[in-house]
Symmetry: C2
Subunit: 354 residues, 2 copies
């Protein structure tokens, strides 16, 4: 697939869950596949929330370690940047536009800048006040559009309520649209015979996790839960481009469990804590959990813990591979943002992508 140009070779990034490690002394591996740490362990788990709950299986899913794979990708990008610096004398540049003082947005922007610096990118940023006008924001975007040192532009969302987000995001040149949200990039992603310049980072990260984990997609049935513009819809398109047979489940789907049970690959991106239960899964399915939901947990210091859209305890007993939350899809998003920016820079430098 054109959007995923980085090398493949991180199959070894699958790691054991803490629970698996705790079982190691009493159970020997029986059905491990190459590169997958799958243990032949009988285990019965009851999920904390209500539902049918009990899932029994002979095997437990290998964990797809997004943090480790993302780290590997960042290393590959850093090496490419060093090489570009030497051969072309230039480095990729990413510009981030932040409006207002939302704490979460400030945190995201900081991590993006840090990630840029770590791989050797030039990092540009503008912070506009909460009461900035739409014209001011668009002007700022346009300056970056015109700046040859900036190869990717990111407008941190959400924008203040008085701003038309569509107009601001639409002002980003589709050639610097590293978020992949421009209608032209969305359209060409859906078109046979066309290539988008950029694919949205989170779904691109999902596919990268699958490919780097050696998951065969061609001819497999994939179910994407959720149809958002930033995850579900592009994830479905990307899976179809890999020749999977894709079904999109959404809020109006009457029998989600039944449909998910047909899937060899499940991508959950609906934003509901532990919505997908273990008994929704076909044994051996591969599960990519995009959700990050905070649920109350007085036993923790912060009073909450993060869970995915999938009930991990149950699903990990049924799936052959599964991403944890946190540490699964999350770290891939910034890695893919860096990959998109690198792509843009190489196009601008006239350097062929592999």
């Amino acid at each position: 697939m054109e959007a995923l140009h980085l090398g493949r070779g991180a199959v070894g990034h699958l790691r054991k869950t803490p629970m698996e490690r705790s079982c190691l002394s009493s159970h020997a591996p029986t059905r491990a596949s190459p590169g997958l740490n799958v243990l032949g362990v009988v285990k019965s788990v009851r999920c904390s929330s209500s539902g049918s709950g009990v899932v029994q299986t002979e095997r437990r899913g290998a964990v797809i370690d997004g943090k480790s794979i993302a780290g590997q990708i960042r290393k590959e990008i850093a090496a490419e940047v060093a090489n570009l610096k030497e051969t072309v004398g230039k480095v990729p540049g990413l510009a981030v536009v932040l409006v207002g003082t939302r704490k979460d947005s400030e945190t995201y922007v900081r991590s993006k800048k840090k990630a840029c610096e770590e791989v050797g990118f030039a990092s540009f940023g503008v912070t506009l006040p909460e009461d900035a006008t739409q014209e001011e924001i668009v002007n700022c975007v346009n300056q970056f559009n015109d700046d040859p040192e900036v190869h990717g532009i990111l407008v941190q969302l959400p924008l203040p309520k008085h701003i038309n987000e569509e107009a601001v995001v639409g002002a980003v040149s589709f050639e610097k649209d590293v978020d992949g949200f421009h209608p032209i990039n969305v359209g060409t992603l859906c078109m046979q015979g066309r290539k988008p310049l950029f694919v949205p980072c989170t779904p691109k990260g999902c596919i990268e996790l699958l490919l780097r984990s050696g998951v065969e997609l061609k001819g497999k049935r994939a179910v994407v839960i959720g149809r958002s513009n930033i995850v579900g819809t592009p994830a479905a398109q990307l899976l179809q481009r890999q020749n999977a047979t894709v079904t999109v489940v959404h809020s109006a789907t009457t029998n989600p469990a039944e449909i998910v049970r047909e899937a060899d690959i499940v991508v959950a991106a609906l934003g509901k804590a532990e919505f997908v239960r273990g008994d929704w899964l076909k044994p051996g399915a591969v599960v990519i959990d995009v959700g990050i939901n905070a649920v109350d947990d007085p036993s923790t210091k912060k009073g909450y813990r993060l869970v995915g859209d999938v009930c991990y305890k149950e699903a990990s007993q049924v799936a052959s591979m599964i991403t944890p939350v946190p540490g699964g899809v999350g770290p891939m998003t910034i890695a893919m943002l860096l990959a998109n920016t690198l792509d843009a820079a190489k196009r601008s430098f006239g350097v062929e992508n592999a």
Copy 2:
């Protein structure tokens, strides 16, 4: 759905098949639904091509009469045009660019022009020689882009081999792109919260047939067979916009029959004669057959007959409703082209769509 603005009220366009008519004397209707001419007839049919072949069912599908529905839509459009002429003093204009002398293309262009004239549109056309340069064709498109009397532009495909089709089609302003092929219109079709200016005519016609036949789509399972840019992919998006749960089956799908059997609504658009068999269908499914394939038939004057992508004889015994070939989806394509052009004109005149 924004793209389908015409009135609903053509449920009565479902008609009986010739076979049904021939059975009328000996069988009384037993399970007819309002607006559907469904007969309770037991019938066993063997399809002409190979396969499991025999399908038995208690009911037979009502025919969705595309010719009649398209005729109704054209009448509605003609009435709107007459009204615009009176109130705004202007009529919609469609420009068709034809390159070369392909017989089939000439025929298509003639029928489009004729359809335009019948509803009162202004019709513009340019025919360029087979050896026209890309620049000449693009110049021609640009002239129509700039012409305020032209609201829709159509480049008749295929273009001669020395021409870059993507570049020519991409030259059509997305605001006059009545074919709905521009990446911006493709992208916005896929995006929640966005509206494409135009939806490709054939899949738009498929949905219009379903809606005007009173088929409930929300929460239903739909399977689209084929993922082409002009039919399959936009049909899947349109069905999802109607809140159906959609699966796209394609050439790499390993078990198409099994998947099609899950569907309440089947849209077949793969271009293979009678590929979908009767026993692929869930009893009571609604079948929209987009295929038009010529198969040898020495018993006919022309030596061939037209069949769809679905084995009609078998499928009509299992489906609750089905489009015939010809006379199903076919006539809807030009009707939707007229509808798209009317939309464009109304936008240009500042007249609100209903």
